[in-house]
Amino acid sequence: MKETQQDLTRKQKEYWKKNTRLIRVLLVIWALVSLVAAIILAKPLSGIQFFGIPLSFWFAQQGSIIIFLFLIFYYAIRMDKLDKEYDVQEVILTEEPSSKDKDKGVST
């Protein structure tokens, strides 16, 4: 009994570790395409041509937003997989009244 409990805690810790690692990687990309490419490296990158406009201008006014979008959807997809792997996905209830959920809450 005690062992299974420890097992579960360990599994939960592992799930959290994988989640935070993924978050870290995605946030590094987030900062690279916005704060770095469009602001810190704005001057050097404006010498590079990206089709009709300078590369840094593209990052500043188009590219960063498009990449943000990919980051969020990629995270949602990866987390769906991770939830399944660790068996923590919520049961999709069809007729369950939602009020039950909120009442049990976290009133500890």
Binding site: T4, Q5, L8, K11, Q12, Y15, W16, N19, T20, I23, L26, L27, W30, S34, L35, A38, I39, I40, A42, K43, S46, F50, F51, G52, I53, P54, S56, F57, W58, A60, Q61, Q62, S64, I65, I66, F68, L69, L71, I72, F73, Y75, A76, M79, D80, D83, Y86, D87, V88, Q89, E90, V91, I92, S98, S99, D101, K102, G105, V106, S107, T108
Partner: protein, 561 residues
């Protein structure tokens, strides 16, 4: 039909739809009133967040502001979209798992302190109030501009409509009207954009036209020839440090805005919270990637239609005289040579353009049917009303749920709580309307306030509450207090001419960072102070640490196995 008649018809039809939805979504319990019964599908919540998010300012003013800032307009483009990555990865899924109604709910419970709850509730009220004043004003302005109605009457009409569906339908009514309002505003924004893109570049997709045609380069060259700034070059209007600080402050501030965060409580589960953040940014990005394209196209077109043209010839265009009458455009042949000339020197510049005209005049410049002009008016109203209603709910729930129920009267019955919720949202409408009619002198400055405060107070406290199990009550309270105090004092000192009426600002900037960006420093202080104080005081109680464990997983791993 005349443009006015068309506009009136369209506005009446859209308002009737909002009222109908409000009537259909009448609610009878607090769960439906505050979080729409946790029953909103992910994509619908995404559209509602987008409508909540994009205000009259995003719709009418942003493209124009960008066209005047050039490259540096990125502060708004990246600043107001990058925050959604933070929300999706760092806050939304865990707050949904926590599963209550408001932001102060989380802060109060996580830091086992009604003091922290009260501070968070007051911050929520203040942030939302500063933001909502501009929205009601926006409703009045759209009414006066398109229907020649007095601004005050316009504000009153807007108040009546919002009050009806928000009081009756609460979050549920607000959500479904926002879904409709998003649809109207995005169609109204995209049609003129596509038309002007096609006219100037031959490419109907504004985003592609901006990237693949030479128009941004040509505009840049044109501006340099006229002595204006080089459009595609960075830091011509703001220092690199300020662009960095303001962008980051707007990103963090976005992720800390209560009216956006509470929308993630309305979905069914953690998974839906993650996905709805993606849908929200997709819907927002449709407008936010189009706006910089419109900025370039409209500015290019305006310069070409005016510069070196004779003033009589220019005035033959109907839209020119129309916008001259509104005062948004002014032409004056100062040197008497019969032709107009742009200049960066205000004394010789002969064409003065209000940034708002970039979006407002686009349908006429692109020679679109009057119907589209009416649609843009309806879109502007939809943008203002949807943002206002989301903010009103955030204010109402901070008072009726957090202060009245959780602090003042924990034994209140469901019926009492619902009644107080409705009364509070009605009062919030009145307050918002009052500020819409009598805007405080510093109304333009309050957006800096809202984002700065959200960045310096709520965002760090929520983030640490999830990711730092050891974070305790003392750390959070000290962090919030110091972050808030620093940011408020800095903004007040830098904006003293507008707020206190001093001749010059008491201080120009904080180490080179202006009022819009100073929230970043406040947030940083909050993080550092929270960390230091928490490590020198007692760890949070066992049950709080358990609660943090619980919100980190969508479902606790099956313990019966």
């Amino acid at each position: 039909m005349s443009v006015e008649a068309l506009t009136l018809t369209l506005v009446v039809i859209t308002f009737a739809i909002y009222l109908y939805i409000g009537w259909r979504s009448k609610v009878k319990d607090t769960s439906n009133f505050f979080v729409a019964g946790n029953d909103i599908p992910a994509a619908a919540n995404g559209a509602a967040i987008a409508a909540d998010w994009m205000s009259a300012a995003s719709f009418i003013s942003m493209a124009g502001l960008i066209s005047f800032l050039g490259y540096d307009g990125t502060i708004y483009l990246m600043g107001w979209t990058g925050g959604y990555v933070l929300l999706a990865l760092l806050l939304a899924p865990y707050l949904r798992k926590f599963g209550r109604y408001t932001v102060p709910d989380f802060i109060g419970d996580r830091y086992y302190s009604n003091g922290a709850r009260a501070v968070a509730a007051v911050a929520t009220l203040f942030i939302s109030l500063t933001y909502v004043a501009g929205q009601m004003r926006g409703v009045g302005i759209v009414f006066s501009r398109y229907l020649q109605v007095d601004i005050i009457v316009g504000v009153l009409i807007g108040m009546a409509i919002v009050a009806f569906f928000a009081v009756l339908g609460g979050m549920k009514g607000i959500t479904w009207t926002q879904v409709v309002q998003y649809t109207i505003l995005i169609v109204a924004f995209l049609i003129p954009a596509i038309a002007i893109s096609l006219k100037l570049t031959g490419n109907p997709v504004p985003q592609l036209a901006l990237t693949f045609s030479d128009i941004a380069k040509e505009l840049s060259v044109l501006q340099v020839e006229l002595g204006l700034t080089e459009y595609v070059a960075p830091f011509t209007n703001m220092s690199a440090l300020n662009v960095f600080a303001v962008t980051l402050a707007l990103m963090i501030g976005t992720a800390g805005l209560p009216h956006v965060i509470i929308r993630f409580y309305t979905v069914k589960n953690v998974r839906a919270a993650r996905w709805s953040a993606g849908w929200a940014l997709l819907f927002i990005a449709l407008l936010y990637t189009t706006a910089p394209a419109i900025g370039v196209f409209a500015k290019y077109n305006l310069i070409n239609s005016f510069n070196d043209q004779s003033i009589e010839q220019v005035r033959e265009e109907a839209w020119v005289t129309k916008w001259e009458e509104t005062g948004l455009l002014s032409l004056e042949d100062k040197n008497g040579d019969g032709v107009l000339a742009f200049s960066s020197d205000a004394a010789v510049n002969e064409v003065v353009i209000d940034p708002d005209i970039i979006v407002l005049s686009t349908p006429e410049v692109a020679e679109l049917a009057p119907f589209v002009i009416a649609l843009v008016a309806a879109g502007g109203l939809a943008a203002a009303l949807s943002t206002a209603s989301g903010l009103l709910l955030a204010m109402s729930s901070a008072v009726s749920h957090d202060i009245y129920y959780r602090i003042y009267r924990p034994n209140a019955t469901e019926q009492q709580r619902l009644k107080v919720g409705r009364i509070m949202i009605f009062l919030a409408v009145i307050v918002a309307g009052y500020f819409g009619i009598n805007p405080p002198g510093f109304v333009g400055e309050v957006v800096a306030f809202a984002f700065g405060l959200a960045a310096a107070s709520l965002f760090p406290a929520i983030l640490l509450g999830i990711f730092d199990q050891r974070m305790n009550r003392e750390g959070a309270i000290w962090g919030i207090s110091v972050g808030l105090a620093f940011t408020v004092i800095m903004i007040l000192l830098m904006r003293s001419p507008q707020v206190f009426g001093t001749e010059t600002p008491v201080i120009e900037s904080f180490l080179g960072i202006n009022a819009q960006g100073v929230g970043v420093v406040g947030a940083l202080l909050n993080f550092v102070i929270s960390f230091i104080v928490s490590r020198r005081t007692a760890a949070p109680p066992e049950e709080i640490q358990q609660m943090v464990e619980d919100i980190r997983v969508p479902k606790v791993i099956n313990k019966t196995g």
